[in-house]
């Protein structure tokens, strides 16, 4: 047994090289997308949101964030001057910073949404849109668990 160990111990690191095959398989078979949250509409703007994963918020620069897709409906994406996805108890204003800013150049866009440490019962996920005429449009969703 001892001889066996002495002879073959330095082959163990070869098992690490099996992992890239596993990760390649994982990358080629991604998990199904999370389900979209119900479509919301206000005038000519409509949107759905979809969490990017099931995971709880992650830490970014010491603050909690969670990634979402924003799916604009009715070809309204090019009517958006700026849009933000944020968690708040009441409709938020346009922020000076760009946290939660919706980015992308097609109907499906993305946002890194700042999440509070504790979610209050009346917290909602707010999509705040400013259009090119300067009007503010707000859609919101109840936060799922």
């Amino acid at each position: 047994m001892k001889v066996f160990w002495l002879r073959y111990r330095f082959w163990i690191n070869g098992f690490i090289l099996l992992l890239p095959f596993w990760f390649l398989y994982q990358a080629l078979t991604p998990p199904p997308l999370e389900s979209k949250w119900a479509k919301k509409q206000s005038g000519e703007f409509s949107a759905e949101v979809r969490p990017m994963d099931k995971e709880p918020p992650y830490l970014h620069d010491g603050k909690r964030e969670k990634d979402f897709s924003v799916i604009f409906g009715d070809s309204c994406a090019n009517k958006v001057k700026q849009a933000y996805l944020r968690v708040a108890t009441s409709a938020p204003n346009l922020p000076d910073d760009d946290s939660g800013i919706v980015h992308g150049n097609t109907s499906i866009q993305h946002a890194h949404v700042p999440f509070p440490d504790v979610i209050k019962t009346d917290d909602r996920l707010w999509l705040t849109i400013q259009d090119w005429q300067g009007r503010i449009i707000q859609l919101s969703w109840v936060l799922e668990k």
Partner: protein
């Protein structure tokens, strides 16, 4: 065993690389292939070649952008990246209801030669070599750490090896490679010969590798290397009139700003704004030796054409300089195909080091297992 004795250093030499000899060799082999991945792509994929039979002048990025808009009308460009003169320019795009793609655009004829929606060979080799395809958890990947730790393995094995190998410099004047005195003698001579003639290469690989490790730690702890520009202010936004940033005029204005900011500027990569409060990022080179193709950068506000941030070697701190010279040194791209070819050969030689080392150890162990390292 006395600390500092030759036997101590010999054991240390073994412990640096034997436990990870297969992984080490794999990282070296994949890195060696990655050095030539652009050229392998040129050989295997005619659509990736920038053929120029009519000897046309190279088209500007604005002309390529217009050509993309004409040939792929639903494409929204996110990035334009100029590669080697014999390769197509890569135009990264998003399209409605389709996965993101890379358009292979001939920089002379402006023809879109391929719409690549999958993984490229270049990208795959980079991921395999860089982090062994381990997943990224936002700011870090275990695989990236594993690979960069090989830089310490290499440095440790090199230093301990040079201590063990008495008067190693003789190898420069009297190189020895015994081919007919048994395998053990061949492995030993080959291992030493390759190592001594590759010292310069091993030092470059391990130092740049240690930088990549430092960079990984900085990413993991979210320590920024650069002070990022603030998003375009709400005051500027309030005056912004509706226009599409997918426009040749807006792109042209951003490029003109970069040409007036830098001398002899050659743009190599343009990133389009990700949202309306974002900037055009123009990156390129003035041809400074050893600095990569993205060492000169500026951010242009698309609403008022103002420059918001300028980066150039003369204003960089030590870490920023290292970040822009590490890649050309690690990939061997600083003098084109010739330096890549040299890097490829020495990469192959480096890949054999842990194999010959292991074979020597293995032969000794099989014969005398009790005296194993």
């Amino acid at each position: 065993m006395v600390f500092g004795s030759r036997r101590f250093w010999f054991k240390l030499h073994g412990w640096f690389s034997l436990p990870v000899w297969l992984l080490f060799s794999f990282v070296c082999v994949t890195g060696t292939i990655a050095v030539m991945s652009h050229e392998i792509t040129w050989i295997t994929n005619p659509e990736a070649r920038a053929e120029n039979p009519k000897n046309l002048p190279k088209k500007s990025m604005v002309e390529l952008f217009k050509a993309v808009q004409a040939q792929v009308p639903d494409a929204k460009v996110t990035r334009i990246m100029e590669l080697e003169p014999y390769l197509v320019t890569a135009v990264f795009v998003n399209r409605e209801d389709k996965p993101p793609a890379i358009l292979y655009v001939n920089p002379y004829s402006a023809k879109v030669q391929e719409v690549n929606q999958g993984l490229t060979f270049i990208g795959f080799m980079r991921m395999l070599h860089g982090w062994l395809l381990f997943p990224w958890h936002h700011h870090y990947s275990v695989g990236y750490y594993l690979v960069t730790l090989m830089a310490f393995v290499l440095m440790g094995a090199l230093i301990s090896g040079l201590v063990v190998y008495k008067k190693f410099w003789r190898c420069f004047l009297q190189p020895k490679l015994r081919l007919n005195q048994g395998r053990q003698a061949f492995y030993k001579d080959f291992h030493r010969l390759v190592a001594i003639w590759s010292i310069w290469f091993f030092v470059i690989m391990s130092l740049t590798g240690i930088w990549y490790f430092v960079q990984a730690v900085m990413w993991h702890n979210e320590v920024p290397l650069w002070k990022e520009a603030k998003p375009i202010s709400q005051q500027v936004m309030s005056q912004a009139q509706q226009k599409s940033l997918q426009s040749p005029d807006v792109l042209s204005a951003a490029l003109k700003r970069s040409e007036s900011e830098f001398k002899n500027f050659q743009p190599k990569m343009i990133s389009f704004p990700e949202h309306n409060r974002d900037y055009f990022r123009v990156a390129g080179t003035e041809g400074a030796f050893l600095f990569d193709d993205y060492s000169y950068q500026l951010l242009v506000n698309p609403w008022n054409d103002e420059v918001s941030d300028v980066r150039k070697p003369s204003q960089m701190n030590v870490l920023q300089v290292i970040s822009h010279i590490a890649d050309p040194l690690h990939y061997g791209t600083f003098a084109g195909l010739w330096s890549k070819a040299i890097w490829f050969v020495f990469g192959l030689l480096l890949s054999t080091m842990s194999i010959t080392g292991f074979l020597m150890w293995s032969k000794r162990t099989i014969i005398k297992p009790k005296k194993a390292v």
